[in-house]
């Protein structure tokens, strides 16, 4: 049986970036994900590429990490990052002294923070609350976490990594105390397979705690729920933050053609982590707070609400969860728990994914005695860079794909597939085919993550029958319409119900009546 150098458990951004780094350093790499790439917190976050300003006052080291990684990702993932810039606004009732200190801390952490007048702020971003008394411009940006994760996965594959999706790790293969592999099974399949590796890395977000327990290891983790709401169009072009001690609902981020408002932070029990949904109360809270950032939100259509779970790690030795680390945590279980062959990488944030990968890959290489230099900050990810210049005007059906996938567009066959299937998000058949061939999908929810199908204002209710047909064709399978469509609509329904008033209620009626046989 083949023995991989490293097996990475978890197909979110952390696992993906780690797989990339390991593969680039020449390690034979296997990544195992129980569902689809980006189905955990990586697919349920704010899409914010932090400048680090938010952490500058309380966590200088964290802020320094953020700004360094922010600059790196802009360079190596240019198609995933939109350099929108950000504003931290001070409203009447907030303290301008806080703003002064805030700027000082930013500069100390290497973050370009520039105080601008309210008038300038309104010129830059007309949507901000016009009563603002101060503003600071910072290099925040918007990042597409799906695109970023996919790019890391694709790069890992192109450097020889193997990606195994839709398989759950049920336990570890042990040799004495040492972990030398994992046991996996497919859902609904009682048979179990084994994969061997010299090192196993746990990069499964909040699910890491459960996995570690299979190895008899206790990692103190606290699931922290964050709810967010998505508005139907781009209300503000810059990231808007509140310049005060970080609190609920004080960030509005432009994401492709929508706006995302968040977030909350509530500890939830482990039992619910597989089915996180935003509640109507959370929606009401987010909206109340959000309106003070950007008043137009009070009359902007909300298309859905969702929630993700952050993996907060308790500082080791802390039994009751009072001091929680948001920093990057690398746990070498050989030294910590007497279990060689197992390393955990957790904590951190989307912005520092590359650094997290570097840190854990350094640890892996150290264990394996491999001397290889980390090049992830230097080499561009697939898609990054100037898209190939078209002769004449770029046809409109290509533009959204170029915006999303950058140079990877050259691998899409537009001659065969330029029909637009999802009209809200301008997704063509060519893009669907690319997603199926490159990343592998089971159903429409998976397809959504790798294109943007169903993420627009109709939430799939208009295009879903057509998408199901096209997907079945591209998969070379008979059309399992009920399975595809029902699964997808149920998934979308979860996000529509917390915001089911106004036009979202109309959309809900439309969805119900067009997709149900009888009412």
């Amino acid at each position: 049986m083949k023995v991989f150098d490293v097996i990475i458990v978890g197909g979110g951004i952390t696992g993906a970036a780690t797989a990339r780094d390991c593969a680039m350093r020449g390690l034979s790499t296997l990544l195992i994900e129980r569902s689809d790439i980006c189905d955990g917190a990586s697919g349920r976050n704010h899409g914010l590429l932090h400048s680090g300003a938010r952490y500058a006052v309380t966590d200088k080291e964290g802020a320094e990490e953020c700004i360094r990684e922010n600059k790196i990702l802009r360079r190596i993932a240019s198609n995933c990052v939109e350099p929108t810039g950000g504003l931290f606004i001070t409203l009447p009732g907030d303290s301008l002294e806080y703003q002064e200190n805030f700027i000082k801390c930013c500069l100390e952490a290497g973050i370009e923070a520039e105080a601008i007048s309210p008038k300038e702020a309104l010129q830059m971003e007309p949507a901000v609350n016009p009563t603002l008394i101060g503003a600071v411009k910072v290099p925040d940006a918007s990042v597409d976490p799906f695109r970023l994760t996919d790019a890391n996965i694709i790069d890992a594959m192109r450097h020889g990594a193997t990606i195994l999706k839709f398989h759950t790790v049920t336990g570890f293969v042990r040799s004495g105390d040492r972990v030398c592999g994992v046991k996996v099974s497919k859902p609904g399949d009682i048979r179990s397979r084994e994969f061997r590796a010299r090192i196993v890395v746990l990069a499964a977000g909040i699910w890491t705690a459960g996995l570690a327990r299979e190895a008899g290891i206790n990692i103190g983790m606290l699931p922290s729920k964050g709810a967010l709401i998505i508005f139907g169009h781009r209300v503000a072009g810059m990231v808007i933050n509140r310049c005060r001690k970080p609190s609920n609902a004080d960030i509005l981020v432009p994401g492709d053609v929508v706006s995302v408002l968040g977030t909350t932070s509530d500890k939830v029990p482990f039992e619910g982590i597989d089915d996180m949904r935003a509640t109507p109360e959370e929606v009401d809270l987010l909206l109340r707070e959000g309106v003070s950032l950007v008043p137009a939100l009070s009359h902007t259509r909300i298309i859905r609400a969702y929630a993700g779970v952050r993996p907060l790690v308790m500082a080791d030795g802390d039994g009751d969860g009072r001091s929680v680390s948001r920093g990057i945590v690398v746990l070498d279980h050989e030294t910590r728990d007497g279990v060689p062959g197992l390393i955990t990488i957790t904590g951190g944030k989307l912005t520092t994914c590359r650094l997290m990968a570097e840190m854990v890959t350094d640890a892996v290489c150290d264990k394996l005695g491999v001397k290889a230099v980390c090049e992830t900050a230097l080499r561009p990810l697939p898609g990054s860079g100037k898209a190939h210049k078209e002769e004449g005007e770029v046809p409109y059906f290509k533009r959204a794909a170029i915006g999303r996938h950058g140079t990877e567009v050259s691998r899409m066959d537009f001659d065969l597939g330029h029909e637009i299937i999802c009209e809200c998000e301008q997704v063509t058949r060519a893009e669907i085919r690319y997603a199926v061939k490159t990343l592998g999908v089971r159903n429409i929810s998976d397809l959504r993550r790798h294109t943007r199908i169903g993420m627009g204002t109709c939430q799939g209710s208009f295009c879903i029958k057509k998408v199901a047909e096209v997907l079945a064709e591209e998969l070379g399978q008979p059309l399992r319409e009920k399975e595809f469509i029902d699964e997808y609509l149920q998934e979308r329904w979860k996000g529509i119900t917390p915001v089911i008033w106004g036009d979202s209620l109309r959309e809900a009626e439309y969805m119900q009546r067009t997709h149900k046989d009888e009412i």
Partner: protein, 189 residues
């Protein structure tokens, strides 16, 4: 403009009602704010046009916005395009549908009927409006205006003498108006 009957809503229920009123020889005005989900794709305005061809005055793309009431009688209805010029009639039929056609509107807390302020049967509290299972019956699809045994609309608990409802705007279990019977009643008057 004066009519015998004004039908508000040009979907399936509204066009059927207008047709029956025309059969009884009444002078009818039909207000149709837009196309509905029932529209045929080959000729979306066909049903509305058929009503116009039979001599009804049709306001296409116009929306009823308010009504003039006196005691329990509707005197006239105002529309967006006709502004201050009222549509006066002896009989009014409300067939504006549910949420998609904007017969019922919803804000964060309540569901209401925007033209007459008619009484709406619904459960307060947004979490009660839906079932988390997409395939399960949805409470909000059963909400709608209340009517009496003849299909007359209630406003503030009072039954309106000359305002009837038909079609999707009705709450589940609410009595639909029998347009044929009402038409002969008004034709005889």
């Amino acid at each position: 403009m004066k009519f015998d009957a004004v039908v508000i809503g040009g979907g399936k229920a509204g066009c059927e009602a207008a047709s029956l009123l025309l059969d009884a020889g009444l002078k009818v005005c039909l207000v149709s704010a837009g196309l509905t989900m029932d529209a045929e794709s080959t000729d979306p305005w066909a049903a509305v046009r058929a009503i116009a061809r039979r001599g009804a005055v049709v306001l296409r793309g116009d929306t009823a916005v308010s009504a003039d009431l006196k005691a329990e009688t509707v005197l006239s209805v105002h529309t967006e395009c006709l502004e201050e010029e009222p549509l006066e009639a002896r009989l009014f039929i409300l067939a504006t549908g549910k949420y998609f056609s904007r017969g019922l509107l919803a804000d964060m807390e309540r569901i209401y009927e925007p033209v007459f302020g008619a009484d709406v049967d619904y459960i307060p509290g947004r979490e009660n409006w839906y079932d988390s299972d997409f395939s399960a019956p949805q409470p909000f699809l059963g909400f709608g205006v209340k009517t009496d045994a003849q299909g007359r609309v209630l406003i503030g608990g009072k039954t309106m003498k000359n305002l009837y409802a038909t079609g999707d705007i009705l709450a589940k279990g609410a009595q639909a108006a029998s347009i044929e019977a009402i038409a002969s009643e008004y034709a005889g008057k």
